[in-house]
Structure formats: C-alpha cells, structure tokens
C-alpha cells in the first residue's frame, strides 16, 4: 500500500500519543496526528488547543487553532489564559504532550520559528512564537515535526524561539524552566530522540527505504546513528483512519 511522507509523519506522531494524554495541537499535520491517535490507539486522549477548546470533538480538520471547528462539542471553552494555565500548572501540565513545528532545530531540540538571518534585519521573517515558546517551556514532553533539510537542522539557531534542552544537561533547570523537553523529532525521513545524559539528538528510526546516510546528508550537524531502528510503515488501518476519518477533504495531507 503506497503512502506519502506526510502520512508516515502523521502516523509516526500518532503512535507517540498515549491513552489519557492531553494533546496540545498546533495547526496542520499535528492536528491530524492527534485526531488519528484518538481513532486508533488513544481513545481517551484529550485534544486541546491553546485557544481554549478542551476535548474538542473534531468533525472537520481545523485550518488554524482559531478555526471555529475546534469549538464543536468541547468540554469547556476557556480563554487563552485558561489554556496556558493548564500547561503551566504542574498538576495538569505534566499530562500534556505538545506537538510543535519550526523553521529550524538544533542538536538540543531548541526551535526557531521567528527569523532567518539577523533578528533586527532578517532575511526571512516567520510568524513568531505563538504558543510554541510556552508549550516548550511548560509541558511534560513535546513531539516536534520537521522537514529533513540541511538548512533546517542547524548547529546554531538564528533565533531561539522555543526551548528544548537549551545548552544540554540541566540546561532547563539552570535557566529556571520547569522539567520537560522534546521527546521525539519526526521528519519526512526519520525519527530522532534525545540522549538521557547528553540531551543531544540521536537518530532513532529510519522510514522504510531510507538509509542513515541519506538522513545525515540532510542535516547541518552530525548525530549518533547507532541506535536507529527501522520504522514500521503505516498499516492499512492507520492509513484508512487518517485518510477517511481525519482528512477526507485532503486539506492537510
């Protein structure tokens, strides 16, 4: 059964979501991953948007976190203050898994979604943090979506928008951040995790047909590859859910 890289990414992310997780969703593919997880393996996970919609019952894929589609059948319509409060509060924040994307990522999982080039006179300006800096600061774990490109995996970010492990072991603690940090990076070719002691990214899995070398070629820094395992392709069931339940209009896929 053929499938696209985006489908593989969504399925790989959905597999990371555990039943009972409170899933912070951004726009795009992260919503699909959360919707797919709820249909496949985590029926009691809670889809949650920074805009304040808690346990949204998505019937159609939202095009933005402010889309009225996030409001349907929710448990509570809170304010932004409420939504971020749930993440900053340790009692609830530790149960939240955040799904984020960015323009650049560094070896410690820090993200840039603000500028390419100098901050005061950038070559490219992006949207800015949104809630990403907050989510990366507060929640128990994050799942990061990236395109596998050399200019996106950089040794040093042009601007650090969202904290990962900052400068490595105990970096978050030194900065005064709550515990947490990225758990996995999911690209169109591979998955990466972070070493428990060094907090550096390592290659954790390659998609079917992708070699370690092909991945490394598309990165601006070296990572350890010894622990990489093959990633299972999407099952027909996973693909069916994703295509027919989550995005029948093909707005994201």
């Amino acid at each position: 059964m053929t499938y696209s890289a985006r489908e593989m990414m969504a399925v790989a992310a959905a597999r990371e979501i555990k039943d009972g997780d409170i899933v912070f969703c951004g726009t795009g593919i992260s919503m699909l991953a959360a919707m797919a997880a709820k249909h496949i393996s985590a029926p009691n996970s809670v889809i949650f948007f920074e805009t304040g919609a808690i346990d949204a019952q998505l019937e159609e894929v939202p095009m933005a976190v402010g889309d009225p589609r996030v409001m349907l059948g929710a448990a509570v319509h809170g304010s932004l203050a409420d939504a971020f409060g749930f993440m900053q509060n340790r009692f609830t924040g530790e149960h939240v898994v955040g799904i984020l994307g960015a323009a650049q990522i560094d070896p410690f999982g820090n993200l840039n979604s603000t500028v390419i080039g100098d901050y005061t006179s950038p070559r490219v300006r992006f949207s800015g943090s949104g809630g990403a800096c907050d989510v990366g600061s507060f929640v128990g774990r994050t799942i990061l979506f990236m395109q596998q490109e050399e200019r996106k995996f950089v040794p040093r970010l042009d601007y650090l928008t969202c904290p990962g492990y900052l400068d490595g072991p105990r970096g978050r603690e030194r900065a005064g951040l709550p515990p947490g940090g990225p758990e996995v990076v999911i690209t169109n070719m591979a998955t990466f995790r972070f070493d428990e002691s060094s907090r550096r990214m390592y290659l954790a899995g390659c998609y079917p047909g992708v070699t370690r070398e092909q991945v490394l070629e598309r990165m601006g820094f070296a990572v350890e590859t010894g622990r990489a395992l093959p990633v299972a392709p999407p099952t027909p069931h996973e693909l069916d859910i994703l295509r027919n339940k989550c995005d029948p209009q093909r707005l994201i896929l």
């Binding site: 726009t27 795009g28 920074e50 805009t51 304040g52 919609a53 019937e59 159609e60 939202p62 095009m63 933005a64 976190v65 402010g66 889309d67 009225p68 589609r69 996030v70 409001m71 349907l72 319509h77 304010s79 932004l80 203050a81 971020f84 900053q88 340790r90 820090n110 603000t114 901050y119 005061t120 950038p122 070559r123 490219v124 300006r125 992006f126 949207s127 800015g128 943090s129 949104g130 809630g131 800096c133 907050d134 600061s137 507060f138 601007y159 650090l160 928008t161 969202c162 904290p163 900052l166 970096g171 978050r172 603690e173 900065a175 005064g176 951040l177 709550p178 209009q249 707005l251 994201i252």
Partner: protein, 317 residues
Amino acid sequence: MSLQEAVDRYVADSAHISIGGFTVNRNPMAAVYEIIRQKKTGLHLYAHSNGQGVDELIGGGCVARLEIAYAGSGRFAPTCICFRKAVESGCLQVEDYSNYQMTLRFAAGAMGVPFLPVRSGMGTDIVTHWGFPAELRQADERLPDQKLVALENPFGNWGEASTVLLVPAIRPDVTIIHVQTADRAGTVRIDGLPFTDIEQAKAARRVIVTCETLVDKENLRDHPEYNQLPFFCVDAVVHAPHGAFPTACYRHYDYDPAFLNQYRHWAQDPQRHADYLKRYIHDTPDHAAFMALQDPRQIERIQADPRTGYASGLDRR
C-alpha cells in the same frame, strides 16, 4: 454611534490600539477596514495571535510598531503576507513575545498591576533580543523601560520555581473587539471561545465593540453568567453585521476561504494590493458597501450551520 464616528473619535494617529480575535476568527474587520479608510497612521498595535486584522492594518499603511506573538492566518497564510514584507523591508518595528506572555500582558493591564509573572521563555532569545531598543523604550513613556525582567523567586523554591519572568502590562488607548451580541449600553456576550478579547478590553482606556446582534438591556439579563464584559467598560457599541468577515464569527458565519485565498494573491503583489485597497476599502463608504462587493452566493455558503456553529462541508481549499 456609527463606526465612522467611533473610529474617528477613539483611534487617533499614533494611538496605541489592540484588536481582538485569533488568526481566522472574530477579528474586528469592519473596524479594521474603517481605520484603513480613515487613513490612520503611526499606530502602535498590540495583538496576541492575529492574522487578517493585523495584516490588513499593516498593508493599509496604518501601523508603525507592532507587539505580537504570532502573525499568521493558519493555512491561508502561515506567515502574514504584508507583515512579512514590512518586517523584511525594515518598515515595521516588531517586539516579539509568546502567546501566553501577550495574554498575561493584557491580563496585567486588565487587573491594574504593572506586570505578571510567567515561567515561559527563560533561556530563549525572546528574553535577550529586543525589537524596541533600550533607548527607544526609555525615550517613550508609553513603553516600559524593559521588554521582560527575570526575577529570582523571592519565596525561595516555592512553586518549584527558582526564577520567573515578569511581563509588563499593556494599557492600550483603545481596544476593538467584534462579538456576537451586545446590548445598547455595551454589555457583551461572546459565544464560543473568548480568546483574550475580554482582557484586551479591560486593559484599555477606551473600548469599541462591534456586534452581529444589538439588543436591549433586558435581553441579556436573564443569564448574566453568559456575559463577559459589563457596559461600564465600553465606550462605543456599533451594530456591524458580518463585522468579522472575512474571518469567522462562531454560530454566525465561517471564515471565507475564497476571500482569504484571494487576499493572499492580492497582498503578494504591490499593484494588486493597491487595487484591492482602492476598490474594496477606500472607494467604499462603509462595511455594508464592502460586503456588497462580495459574491452573495459565497456569503450564503459560509453561513453557520446551527448544529456546528460553522459552515459544515464548506469547500476550504
């Protein structure tokens, strides 16, 4: 009060203004277009995650400085078009915060405290990189002297926090929000997500409310728990049907994908954008005339389904 009069009275050139809504939802677009129509300039604009409203004000030439967390309209413009061009060409000074930081800044203004603490952003460039230089901040009494301040927790490790960031309050001259229902005195009822509209309104010296439905006071008094903003916070209430168009207004209408795609096309080219500004805004007397230029069949298509609150099955490609 008419919207012309409200904007004329409360939005001065160089004023500090904030607009409600979030990305493609409940932006106060009728007021945004009126501000452009009146050729206001030099505005200092505050928003948290705002798409269409922020981008049109920038494209309309109204904005000198912007404090914001996120400038995007979801899939229609992951980064707002005019915003991006203005920043890259050096025409717009921007100060970046996170969404929660902006929310708390409005909340601090609403509560009447100079700052609020947050545990977000320590170790990031949001703390170290200032869009408004220290000299500008010190010279302008409308700006706090510092973007953010780190504070060692004076209660030791209480709350397991060694350090917090303090975010300074925002107190705009005027906040403009668009809501589903208001009474003639200004009491506001928002359906669905309120975003940060209420904090933004309470933080401001003046508040302009535009609404889909304008009712008498008695109509909102049976369930005061469903109202969010009392009349004494509001300076002008304007009946503005489709006042959030082309963004969505929950239980009334959806965002208009056709317009938003068209807007992106227009905004990408200076001439097309100039033509758009002339035809849709400067050559129209008001929002009703702006709406009259839209395809009525499309306006019909985006009407909200009563069950879902949006236009179920709408073609959004």
